[in-house]
Symmetry: C2
Subunit: 178 residues, 2 copies
């Protein structure tokens, strides 16, 4: 299994492997600390995620019960002109893809969302992948043992159209807590 | 069934009823148009939503598979010191409560998120409710038949602690499209 790790050039893509894949093969997880997450670093999802009508409807029934997310026929007459995923489902899948590709020590713990834009409908049969860039990394003033990482994520479908973009902050512990 | 509707004072809370409840009782749904959504208007969720350990784990297994969302024992040793809901689950439940309480004509269709802050962990046994305030309403320059509503939502638990706050934009059609 290949574990690419080269953030030194800033613009190169990095692909890490998911914790479960690493554990399956008995490879020690690469835990990311604050010092590892440098502005300009880019991380791709390790896979694409298939969108199914079943998942769109199941998510919508629980969290966003509106006709354009629940039923193909009813959706035809709506703004979306067909079944489309709830934006909150797309956001949740984005988290899944991010968690799989970036194994932050102690877990990827959110420190707030600065922006989400939904730029294209997500449809059954789409395959989503993510590209995340580290925008900034600052140490916490109140908690010297952690830092706050600001990241931008583009979510692409199989036609390389951006369906969602977001700016999300998360915390990362310092490896060397001086 | 009581359908309160008084936005004229600006600060008063409004409680609408969910589409499904309205239909059950054969009451015509109150459809909200751009003109109805005035800055200062406040809308409460029509109910509280119970958080269960089962839903926390089920959501996490799909979208945010990290120890503090998946397993009570493993969660004890993490940042959260116990099982906590994924922030994306809290955001999704917030959408559910908003959709139930505000019946926008044509559906509540997102036009981007300006901010989400997670201010307290959400735990099994919590009950969440929302209070939404309309911050601004502007007509679209490119599409004269719709407007864009900016709304702020506070999500409270049963101890009236704010667990999440967000600023979300959505579109609303004009009733009188001059």
């Amino acid at each position: 299994m290949q574990v690419g790790w080269d953030g030194s050039l800033g613009g190169d893509f990095i692909t890490t492997v998911a914790r479960e894949l690493q554990l399956e093969e008995g490879v020690l997880a690469d835990e990311l600390y604050f010092e590892d997450l440098r502005p300009g670093m880019k991380i791709r999802s390790i896979r694409s995620y298939e969108i199914t009508a079943a998942e769109i409807k199941e998510f919508a029934a629980k969290y966003d019960p509106q006709p354009f997310h629940l039923d193909e026929v009813a959706a035809e007459k709506t703004f979306f002109k067909g079944l489309a995923a709830s934006g909150w489902m797309t956001a949740a899948i984005t988290m899944r893809l991010r968690v799989e590709s970036m194994h932050v020590a102690g877990g990827m713990i959110g420190a707030g969302v600065d922006e989400i834009k939904f730029t294209q409908p997500v449809r059954p049969g789409d395959w989503l992948r993510t590209e995340t860039e580290i925008l900034s990394a600052r140490r916490s003033t109140s908690r010297p043992e952690i830092g706050v990482i600001k990241s931008s994520t583009l979510v692409f479908n199989q036609r390389d159209e951006v369906v969602m973009r977001s700016v999300v902050n998360f915390i990362a512990p310092l490896r060397n807590n001086n």
